[in-house]
Structure formats: C-alpha cells, structure tokens
C-alpha cells in the first residue's frame, strides 16, 4: 500500500515534469534550441500566483489564468529580444544566451522578492469542492493536489496533440519543425510559429508552476531551476521533439525520482535522476519515442 502511495505521488510529480517538458520539447522541436530559461519562467509564474492568490486572495482559477498571461508575454518577449537575433547563429551562442536569460530571471526575482523562501498556499485548497480521495478503507489517501495535477496534465496533453494535428497553426508547427526553410517557402510564417510555440510552452509552464508549488510549497528564485533541468531530462528521456514522449518521459522520471527518494536515499535522488539521463543518452540517444535524425552534409 505504501508502495502504491509512492507510485501515485511519483506520477503526480511526473505530471508536472511532463507539463514543463512539453515546453522544452516543443521549443526544441521547432526552434532547435534548448530554452534554459524555461524553468525560470515557471518560477515567475509561481510568484504571480503567490501574490495574486496567496496574499491578495484572488480567485484561484483567475489567478492561474493571470499567471498564464504573464508567462506567455514573458516567453514571447524573451524569444523576441534574446533568441530571435541569434536564429542563424551557432547553437553554442544560443545556448549561452539562454543560460544568460535564465540567470537574469533568477537575479531579477531575487532582487525584487528577496531570496527568502516563501511558503506557497496550495491553489487547490482554494477550490472548495476538491477533497482528498480515500481508498481501501482509509489505507490509501490521495491528496486533491495529486489528483488535479494528474488530470490537468492528461487533459492538456490530449488537447495539445489535438491542436498540433488538427489546426492550421499546429500544422505550421509540424512543418517548421520538419524543415524551416521549406516551410517558409510554402508560406508558413516561421517567426509567428516560433512565437506561438514559446507562448504555448510558457503558458503551460505557468500551470506547471502553480501545480508544482501546490505540492511542494516553498517558493524562492531558484525554485524553477531544478524542476526545469529535470523536465529537460524527461524530454530527452522520452525523445526530444515528441509530445507523447515528453509525457511518458515525465511520468517515468517522476516515478523514478519518488521511488529512489523512498527506497534508496533522499540526498541521492537527484543524482539518480541525472544518472538515468546519462544512461538513456548512451543507450538510446534519441530517447524512448524519438526519431532518428540523419546528419546531412
């Protein structure tokens, strides 16, 4: 029974990773860049929820929507200002810029809100009809946060797959990720598509941030960094560029992390997660659901 509870908590944590990983994987698939600042967008989103819902008592749903708007604008602005000028530059330059942006967001947050951890009030607790679920005669209790996280993640995943496969904007995304030059020749607005990708990814990051901080309620400027990196691990694990891959990778990673925390060592759980990444990259560099890409000369 205890194992089951660890497992479910792992799936819940994994759902958050999956949501974050979606942002990474879509941006990577379309703009061919690793957006290091993604994790810090989560942190900014969580602060927005913290101040609107936590301290001002705004309606929780409204507060999350506001946070999504803020993150979307932030994501698009970051792309426009920092990444677009470097679209044709070597990947090393883009990567370093992304690290710079990540650092910038962390430092701005630290200077505005100080580095003292704030205790985040669970958004879910603000929604009255959500109650913890008790199973097997009270032997297994699943918190409302866990259920909501998993449900939200599945819904978003399905919606996103539908969006990519059934709308013209989604088709444009697929086309740009396949071949940017050809897509442009076919009349796809590449810049707008990349901006849209950043917008979606950042909006999902806001949701992920609210859910993450509801389950793990300490918020500080570095809150987003570690989940961000782990979500990237999840994206690589599942096969970068693949939406179902991000989902699968995220869930598996969450389970691995939680089980190793429970059965091996709390301190070493991060090390184990990263070890998984290294093993995956050595054994199957394209990830579980990734496509093999041949290098053309």
């Amino acid at each position: 029974m205890q194992f089951l509870s660890y497992l479910i908590n792992g799936i819940s944590l994994g759902s958050v990773y999956a949501l974050i990983a979606l942002g990474y994987t879509m941006v990577y698939g379309i703009a061919k860049m690793l957006n290091f600042a993604h994790g810090d967008v989560i942190m900014i989103g969580s602060y927005v929820v913290f101040f609107t819902f936590g301290t001002s008592g705004m309606n929780p749903i409204l507060s999350i929507v506001l946070s999504m708007v803020v993150c979307t604008v932030l994501g698009v602005v970051i792309e426009r200002v920092a990444y677009r000028p470097l679209r044709e530059a070597p990947s090393l330059a883009v990567l370093i810029t992304a690290i710079g942006v990540s650092y910038l967001l962390q430092q701005v947050a630290q200077l505005t809100w100080s580095s003292n951890p704030k205790s985040f009030i669970s958004v879910i607790s603000g929604i009255p009809f959500l109650q913890p679920l008790s199973l097997f005669g009270g032997q297994l209790t699943i918190s409302a946060e866990t259920i909501v996280t998993i449900v939200v993640c599945v819904v978003i995943m399905v919606a996103l797959i539908w969006f990519v496969n059934n709308t013209s904007a989604g088709h444009a995304m697929l086309a740009v990720s396949e071949d940017r030059g050809a897509a442009q020749l076919m009349g796809v607005n590449v810049n707008a598509t990349i901006s849209l990708t950043f917008a979606i990814g950042s909006a999902l990051a806001a949701v992920a941030g609210a859910l993450l901080c509801s389950s793990y309620p300490t918020l500080q400027p570095t809150t987003g960094a570690m989940p961000g990196i782990k979500a990237f691990v999840a994206a690589v694990f599942g096969g970068i560029g693949s939406i179902p891959g991000a989902f699968l990778g995220g869930i598996l990673l969450g389970i691995i992390e939680n089980l190793s925390k429970a059965y091996i060592s709390t301190q070493l759980s991060d090390a184990i997660v990263f070890l998984v990444l290294i093993v995956v990259l050595i054994v199957k560099p394209t990830g579980l659901l990734g496509k093999k890409v041949n290098v053309k000369v």
């Binding site: 090393l92 990567l95 810029t97 710079g100 990196i229 690589v236 990263f274 990444l277």
Partner: protein, 358 residues
C-alpha cells in the same frame, strides 16, 4: 632573438606569459610596499584558480567548440581527492613533496573522471553534451554532499548515509558529508598559483598550436569535414576534454588548499556558470582573454562592494549582450560595414594582421 622572425603564435603566447609575470611582479612589489588591502590579498589564490579554470574551460568551449556546464564538477573532484591526500600525508611527508603529490593526484583523478564522462558523452554534441555535463556536475555535488569517509585502525570506511554508519571504533572522519573536509592546513600561496597558471598556459597553448590542436579546431569548425579527411574525432575530442578536466582538478586543489575547510556546495552550477562568464567575456577561443577576464572579474566585485547585489544580474546581462553582439548575423553585418568604412579611411591598415588570436 629576432622578434620579426618569430611565428605569430609564439609572439602572442609570449605576450600572454608576459601579462601573467607582470601581474606577479606588480603584486609582489605592492605587497612588499605593504599596499595590498587584506581583501585583495585574500583574493590572490582564488584569482589564480579561476584563471586556470577559465583557461581550461576555454579549451573545451572555445577550441573544441562544445559547451561544458559541469566544469565545477571536475574542480570538485580534483579538490576533494587532492585535499584528501594532503590531509592524510602532509604531516608525515616533506611539505613540497606532499604538495606536488596533492596537485598531481587532484589533476589525475579529475582527468580520470573527465575520461569516464567523456567517453560516452562526447559521442553526443551540442545541447546534449551541455546538459550531460550539467548533470555530471550535479551528480558530483550530490554524491560529495552525502559522502562520508573515515579511517581507523581497520582501514578506510565509507558510507553514503551518515557519519555514525561508518562503524568506526575511534578513527578520524575524513569527509563528513555536507560539512566536507575540515581542518586543512593551508598550503596554497600566490607564488604556487602563478606557477600553476603558467604551467596551465604552457600546456594548453602548446596543445592549441600543435598538430593535435589544429585537429581539434577542425572538429569545432566542421566535424563532418574533419572526419572525412581522416581525423579521429573521438580521440581528439577526448584529448581536449580530459586536458581541460585535469587542469580544472588542479585548480580545485589550489583553491581548496587556500581555506581551512572544503565543502561540495562550493562547486555548484553557479560556479560553472561563473567560469563560463569569464570565458565568454574574455572571448571564446581566446586564452589570453580568459586570463584577463577571470582576473578582473574576480577582483572587481571585491572593489565594488556596493555593487555586489547586482553582480550576478550584470553577469547575466553581459552574457546575453555579448552573445547577441558577437554572434547575431545582423550585428556581424553591421560591424563589418562599420569596419569597412573605417578601413577605407586608413589605407595603410592591413586587415590580415588584425585577425591574430592567442
């Protein structure tokens, strides 16, 4: 020696060594005249350590063209192994010998780790390599934070849980988890630091200007082309990566022997990024730039205490601005236009002479 007949690279190298030696002499004179502030004197060894870190990271980032975000991990491995040896033998072995052994061991262990990480990882490239080196750095930090090592009459005891599970009778705890190694006899000095900086520069500059160095740069510029002319990619990538790790390890020993205690937290992701800032600001691929940037950026925050809160913010902005300014196609075009106009006005200026890189 005739200055004109010297190769351009030799001349450039001599300038780099000249800067280091001049810095050493200036500091010695100032210190003899008692003009050094305490805080600056305390920064001298860290400056040397950071210079070595920056130069060695530049070998990976600038010369090999792969981004490593776990350079502090190698520093940590080197620091812990070298310091461990120093703590255990410094009382029984003559000091200079023990010191040299510590540096050698620190460098070697870091090099072995560089090899172990490098073999699988260098098959990847670009973003994957960056994230794996980051992961490596985090693994090292986590493991060292949870690592307990003690010694008693029965030999060495090791545990990843806590110091009581070492099951020792009356031994000495060498590494105490998050508290790390304590009670280190300080042994680093500015002179040792400068000697190591010169050693690092000698090895890395020679590597860069050798046949192997040219092979490494060719991999950076076009891996497929390099492979097609028969350059063994993995061998040269590993050569650069391991060399870089060895010097990071040596820098780690130098750094840790400057303090009385050593904790794993010191060598985290932020340290890796700090070193990367030095490399980027000094100029990617320009080793002399790394030396200067590392020295100035270590000293500057000490001098501008009031700016300390904004230091990392400024670094972040510097990273972004320098990258966009140097790498964005539009900016490069703009710059070329400006320099072309400038050149027209100075007909004597030979563009070929402007391209020299250390």
């Amino acid at each position: 020696m005739n200055l004109k007949s010297m190769k351009r690279s030799t001349k450039s190298n001599l300038i780099t060594f000249g800067i280091v030696i001049a810095f050493y002499i200036v500091v010695q004179v100032l210190s003899a005249a008692d003009l050094l502030t305490n805080s600056f004197a305390g920064q001298l060894v860290p400056i040397c350590a950071y210079v070595i870190m920056a130069v060695s990271l530049n070998l990976t980032v600038g010369i090999l063209g792969e981004l490593s975000l776990g350079h502090a991990g190698f520093m940590s491995v080197g620091a812990f192994s070298g310091t461990l040896l120093w703590v255990s033998i410094s009382s029984t072995t003559p000091k200079p010998l023990a010191l040299v052994l510590s540096f050698v061991v620190g460098g070697l262990v870091a090099g072995v780790f560089g090899f172990l990480v490098g073999v699988p990882v260098l098959r990847l490239s670009g973003d994957y390599l960056a994230i794996v080196t980051l992961a490596f750095g985090e693994i090292i930090k986590n493991v060292m934070n949870a690592c307990y090592l003690g010694v008693d009459a029965n030999g060495l005891h090791f545990s990843l849980k806590d110091s009581s599970s070492l099951n020792m009778e009356d031994g000495k705890v060498l590494i105490n988890g998050a508290q790390g190694i304590t009670g280190i006899t300080k042994a680093s000095s500015f002179t040792i630091g400068i000697v190591l900086v010169i050693l690092t520069l000698l090895v890395i500059l020679n590597l860069v200007n050798s046949r192997a160095g040219r092979a490494i740069t060719s991999i950076r510029d076009n891996e497929i082309a390099a492979r097609s002319v028969g350059i063994p990619i993995t061998k040269y990538k590993l050569m650069a990566f391991v060399t870089s790790a060895v010097f990071a390890g040596i820098a780690g020993v130098l750094y840790s022997l400057n303090y009385s205690s050593l904790v794993a937290k010191k060598f985290d992701y932020n340290t890796s990024i700090l070193i990367l800032v030095f490399v980027v600001l000094g100029g990617i691929g320009n080793l002399r730039g790394s030396v200067i940037a590392a020295a100035i950026l270590t000293v500057l925050p000490e001098m501008l205490r009031s700016m300390n809160d904004y230091r990392m913010l400024i670094y972040a902005i510097v990273l972004i601005v320098v990258m966009i300014f140097n790498q964005s196609p539009q900016m490069i075009q703009l710059r070329n236009k400006l320099t072309a106009r400038f050149r027209k006005e100075n007909h004597t200026d030979n563009p070929k002479q402007k391209k020299g890189v250390a």
